[in-house]
Amino acid sequence: MKRAVKKVLSLALILALSLTLCSVAFAKEYRVAYIARAQADSFAAWLANGVKEEAGKYPDITVDVFDGQANDETENSLIENAITNKYDCIIIQPNNGEAQRPYAEKVVAAGIICITTNARIDGIKGASTVDAQPYEQAAVNARMALKVVPQGATAVILRGPAGNFHADERLKAWKAEFFDKRPDVKIVGDDYANWNKDEAMALMEDWVTKVDKPIGLIASMNDNMCAGALEVIKGNPDYKGVLSFGVDGTAEACLLIEEGRMTATCLQNAYELSELLLSTAHKLLTGAETQIDTDVGNPLYTIDNVAELREIHVKAGALK
Amino acid sequence: MQTDIKLEVRNISKSFPGVKALDHISFKVRRGTTHVLCGENGAGKSTLMKIINGIYKPDEGEILLDGQPVKIDNPIHARSLGISMIFQELSFVPEMTVAENIFLGRWPMDRFRRVDKAEMFRQTQALMEREGLHYSPYEQLKNLSVSDIQMLEIIKAVSNNPRIIIMDEPTSAITDKEIEKLFDMIRMLKERGACVIYISHKMDEIFRIADDITVLRDGTMVDSRPASELDVDETIALMVGRRMENKYPWEDVPKGDVLLDVKHFSSAGVFNDINFHIRAGEIVGFAGLMGAGRTEVVRALFGLDPSDGGEVFIKGRKKQRLTVQGNIADGLVMLSEDRRRYGLVPIRSVLENVSLANLKKFIYKGRLHRREERDAVAEQCRRMNVKTSSLETTVEALSGGNQQKVVLAKWMEVDPDVLLMDEPTRGIDVGAKFEIYKLMIALARKGKALLMVSSELPELLGMCDRIYVLCQGRITGELSREQFSAEQIMHYAIGTDKA
């Protein structure tokens, strides 16, 4: 008897849990499938949230978000499912551009509007693209670093996950635009922190122990890892002059720049990107245009213009 | 005359650590006959058959097939020599189909070395039709009843077209109708000139089919004669033998109140309407053959298995539910026949094992008083005469006798009033056995109630004040010490009502 009650109780609990996590979708005129790279990746999640929010402004568009779970297999099958479900438009944020290319082509072949974004998949006939350029995002940082990093400084590099398109492009930009041109700068640490703050912290702690003179430059492929490295040297007088660069323009980076602890970040503006995505989708759906390739800018924010970055986040409710 | 003997076993001996299982056994099986092997539990029947089937190697002696000495390496070799065996324990894969099981390990292959399923099912179907079995070759084994599976085992063995077929208690799990079918099959096999070696202790069966009978006792061959020269009583007398009874330290302890009273205790399909009681100072025995339900009754009483009827009174108080914890709290404990599985935590120390059942005795305000625990365990081990290099030694390192003493020491820590002892001396050397007997008497003297389940009849006769005999899940007889007779117990145990 007691046992049965226990069983029912736990079943009910599980049911309740799963129900609360489900939301009901209402059908509108145009159905758009947004296939995100990974909902567990904070920028991708930010973008997906932005897309959902932006869709609210279009009374004739409804967006369903799917989670590719940072897995090519999963993402590809989600695209196939979306084709089968006859969505009017499918927006793909690839996990790995080349892996999703044939599936994006399938979307076009099925007569469905296809948009690739962040990062775009180039050269698919009939598909549109909306993107920020990952190379350029890091390049603006590197070009600034070229001017401000003193002669003979030491540097550390915090990499994103191995094989990740954005991570690779950003690293390429740092190499080409900065390290190749500044042989005087010695790299004392270079490792994968996989976009993660805690992994970056552990690496930085070991590096700080290892070096004889303070590290002069933190070249991080995203803001999250940069914040982790800065967390380690917080309040350390030797590190007053450290220069640090990140990408994404997160709220945390905004705060760090305001405090004077971080040098610069390039905004990958998810709001701007989602606005552009939705307007592009709308134009294509209503037949105003048939093919669009467009980019958001890559604005660099430093102590001088950080107020503008703050405004973006305040508007979005991420900061007060 | 020489060619008339198909199989001859000469002077076979086999020892296991601590036990001499077979001691110079010899017998002959004539071509085209049924040869019955009988004896008590542990007489060595199964061991002997496993040697003939190549599962065990004999320490000495030889096996002659058609007058030629052979060395049988393994069951596959035995099969190639035309020897096939039906096991007491069923050897099937429950998730596989009937056909796959019949062909287990010798599946027909097609030319791509794939299992030829069509052929396999076709052959099985044919076999089933020939033997008049009704179920589908595609059925999964787990969906069949035990008797169906037993019949399948028999058919599987017969399907190899063997020259010698060994059946180890084949009727223990099948219905009367199937027994008839089995006997028909045996007759047919005999007509084909094959030999059947049939192990059983069911007297009525034995005399229906036996041509020759060989009786084993304690690993020795007592007699081997044509069935026509024997009758039931004589066979039982041969099985039981005459035994010395003064190697047991039994004494007449004054009896007190009834400490354990069991009424109409039942568990569907396992045992039925069990009634017995034990008084303070009394040692009561449960006799019976393998599978009679003795262990099952004891396990259910202790709360390890479910039961579905009857009343149990411990020290006069009726138990509402039988749970292990409740029983221990009420002073009823059980020594399992399988002490490694249910009695000990082999990888932990003697200390932890002994204090396991009564840890709360050493807990003060949530903290374990390790000094006190150690002293108590050391004292208990000394009293039990546990031989171990230290209390930290893991129990798996001890000998069987010492392991059993550790289990006993554990229960002594609880200071129980009723002890259910299932095969307390199994796998233990003679010296340790005697120590355990002495301990039992000491406990009885202290006014404890003891139940002893044993497959060794002499032990029961030597140690008990009273014996209940079980057969097929029922108590079929009760004997007081004055009435003790091995023959009588055997009759009850076999179920031939000769009271």
Binding site: L21, Q39, N49, D198, K234 | V324, Q325, V345, L359
Partner: protein, 335 residues
């Protein structure tokens, strides 16, 4: 003669019982020789701080593995309870009271998740592996859902626990020591501890000895929950943010730590001391490889090899033990 034998026995026990400790000492010496920065107060506190969170998780896993269970959900539950705790703290403002409430929230959530684990394992007799794997997915999903996948920033003085020090000892290390003492106490000085070993060593026998198996298993999960909750607070506080994506793979790290520390995956064997030694072995290895700039792919290979070696050694030692014991019996029989 007698004395000599005694000494040999002492060495034997040292070797078999404290082998893993010897490995640590040797590793420590090698690391000190390899890099001059290794043997500095700062580096050693760094290592201790780095391992503190996973080690606290590993204590929970040790308790579970000993009783034949495990928890694959600890990393995800950390993220879930940690982000909730951070959000709670932010909502209540920068005060001591909200700090205490935030800690209690983290612990309560983690204990709740583990209570569900326990319920499934005991009532439904589901394997712990699959139950906690399901919990991993649910907790991670809940954390992401709660935060919409975004990190929670500006958490004020919440960082004190993870980043502050008392005298010269970082607070996470103090918590690690605290949980070490708790685990040790539970395992060696309580009825619960003995019951855990008995259940892991032989569940049927434990049951037949009157141990309330389900109750003990539930307790093991609840204790684990407290540790996961506290680890979550320390983690979030250390990274100065509520990370719904944080602590991915921490459960594997924690399991590895316990196993290297001599906890037997088949249950019934393991100690708190072994686990903390295992944690330092991993900590030293990671640290020295970073200090000497070993390629991070190579680092993974080395770490994998060490885990394989540790497990093989565990099995080898166990076989060795039984073989030796059987030898003893024969010796005795001869006498």
């Amino acid at each position: 003669m007698q004395l000599g034998q005694g000494r040999a026995n002492l060495w034997e026990t040292l070797k078999s019982k404290y082998a893993i400790f010897l490995v640590l000492v040797v590793l420590f010496i090698i690391c000190s020789l390899l890099n001059s920065n290794f043997l500095t107060w700062r580096n050693l506190t760094n290592i201790s701080r780095q391992i503190s969170v996973t080690t606290i998780l590993a204590f929970g896993e040790t308790i579970l593995i000993i009783s034949g269970l495990l928890d694959l959900s600890s990393g995800a539950v950390m993220a879930f309870s940690g982000t909730l705790s951070v959000m709670c703290y932010k909502a209540m403002g920068d005060t001591y009271v909200s700090m205490i409430v935030a800690i209690l929230v983290a612990i309560a959530i983690a204990v709740f998740c583990n209570a569900l684990n326990a319920l499934m394992v005991t009532t439904f007799r589901a394997p712990a592996f699959i139950v906690t794997l399901a919990m991993q997915a649910m907790a991670r999903g809940a954390a992401l859902f709660l935060t919409a996948g975004q990190n929670v920033y500006q958490i004020g003085n919440y960082t004190v626990l993870g980043q502050g020090s008392i005298w010269i000892i970082p607070i996470p290390i103090l918590f690690m020591i605290f949980f070490f003492l708790i685990t040790r106490y539970i395992l060696s000085d309580t009825r619960l501890g003995r019951s855990l070993y008995a259940i892991g060593g032989n569940e049927a026998a434990a049951n037949a000895s009157g141990i309330a198996v389900n109750k003990v298993k539930t307790m093991a999960y609840l204790v684990n929950g407290v540790m996961v909750g506290m680890a979550a607070v320390l983690f979030m506080s250390r990274v100065n943010a509520g990370l719904p994506n944080g602590a991915i793979g921490y459960e594997t790290e924690a399991l590895t730590t316990a196993i290297i520390g001599g906890t037997s995956f088949t249950g019934g064997i393991g100690t708190a001391g072994g686990t903390i030694v295992g944690a330092f072995i991993i900590g030293f290895l990671n640290n020295i490889m970073n200090l000497t700039s070993v390629n991070s792919y190579i680092q993974q290979i080395i770490k994998g090899a060490i885990i394989a070696l540790a497990v093989m050694y565990d099995i080898y030692a166990k076989n060795q033990r039984t073989r030796k014991k059987m030898g003893n019996i024969e010796d005795k029989a001869k006498k």
